[in-house]
Assembly symmetry: C2
Homo-oligomer: 322 residues x 2
Amino acid sequence: MSEHVYLGADIGGTFIKLAIIDEKGNIIKKWQIETNKRNQGQDIPQDIYESFKVHLFNEKISFDQVYGLGMGAPGFVDLPTGMVVEAVNIGWKNFNLKKAMESFVKKPVFVLNDANLAALGENWKGAGRNVYDLIMVTLGTGVGGGIISNGQVITGSNGTGGEIGHIIVTPGEGPVCNCGRRGCIETYASATGIARLGQEALQEGKSTSLRKAAHSQHTITAKDVFEAAKKGDSISQDIIQEVTDKLGFVLANLAVALNPKKVVIGGGVANAGEQLLEPVETSFRKYSLPRTAEICSFELAELGNDAGVIGGAYLVKQKLNL
Amino acid sequence: MSEHVYLGADIGGTFIKLAIIDEKGNIIKKWQIETNKRNQGQDIPQDIYESFKVHLFNEKISFDQVYGLGMGAPGFVDLPTGMVVEAVNIGWKNFNLKKAMESFVKKPVFVLNDANLAALGENWKGAGRNVYDLIMVTLGTGVGGGIISNGQVITGSNGTGGEIGHIIVTPGEGPVCNCGRRGCIETYASATGIARLGQEALQEGKSTSLRKAAHSQHTITAKDVFEAAKKGDSISQDIIQEVTDKLGFVLANLAVALNPKKVVIGGGVANAGEQLLEPVETSFRKYSLPRTAEICSFELAELGNDAGVIGGAYLVKQKLNL
């Protein structure tokens, strides 16, 4: 049992992942609670505190052994104040999560955007392997991102740092993004975007084995597209080619400016493994400066759902210079 | 007279700018020497040392009062080792400038890419005003860039950090860039790029007042294009519209990931002032996330040719935690 521990919390729209983590970044205990959205989410800090209290007690760890709590929230977060500017899925608007949480735990609390926190976690204990410069992109329902430069996460001047999903790849064209604009990479490379391209191919009457998947499930998923492509469906292969080419292009342009040692790809779509990674990397090398490409390797995320809570621990470690 | 001073050196292909700078970042003395390219530039460190020796003596400053020397070189630089990987204009290849220079001055020497150094200078004493997150772009013969995040310059993992000029805006299309690829923003938004678009309009036989400038000078410059546009030449206005739209697009995509508080535009093309700045900013706001645009202001660089040497002083200050 380590002398001191970190607490990590990764707040999502449905569940909050919680963990007690030792000084080396190993998870001592992890669990989750439901996200309590009643009362505009005002009760969440107390819920988290009570849950930590019980689990720390069960693990025979006192609050005196806790260095601090690192948290992720889905939305724009102002790191210095710990203010969640807006988290639509939860109901928070200008909610000072740091302050609310510190009033319960009486220990330093730090808050980051959830995708940024996951990047920190992967950088410490996952595919990032402690490189100083890293780009992480999370392909899920949307496209999230986190950037590490000079060993520190880039949150930016009002919390949009790392919003890779809203880099525009087809200006003024393509479906409307959640942000209200057109052409964001999120509308192509997210699970939603890939599924949409599959649906569109069907609606256009193209000859594709996706039709079978659609008939049985009344809907197409990104997974269907990857599976059909693997079995030789050329329409699905074209979709994956288009999406990975666009994502590789966006990452290459970013890398020319940031010069990362690693690009880490996570999220549900990354379950496609090499079928995703290889063409993204090929596209990246096509569009990137040779010197930028030379130093940069591509990796699949390794921590899965634990990236956020481990990132929370690392955030505390960094902020307290431990 | 301040107790301690910084030395700054900004090495270009023709001249080396040198300065003695006080603790607050004010220039005590500045001058320049010719870049000695004989012997593959091996004699440059000694030239710089000898010149500093003379000017420090004249200013009655001893080497004991020198904190250190911050330098910029035109090419890829590895910050930790101070190795200039390649500086084509000078003849250096894998030249350890830091080591060579320290053997003369016996004080800490730090080396950065020249565009990165200029960004540091603008951030300290110029248009950057010490914000923590800044993008600087220098529109000259080429397009240089420097990025500050979390208060630190991004050099990246092998020195391509800030190479904004090689962000691709028209994949596979447009003229060949110095880097060998097509579609880099440098081929449009540099002085060379703008002049080329003017030449092309002439060659296509378009009706433009640029023809007068070409007749008298046998060549078109970026300045000609801006002047003709100001006087109402619609072809020149279209060129400026195209170039500023592309530059604003590149900066918006970068800003969505980096969330800067300021974008600073420098270099010779920036002499066009608001005629450049206003349309770039308009384009930026069109392509950027609203929240990213909201916090970000656009400024013209203020330090001109002094940005590099002042950045050199700031680099020493930062690295020595002064």
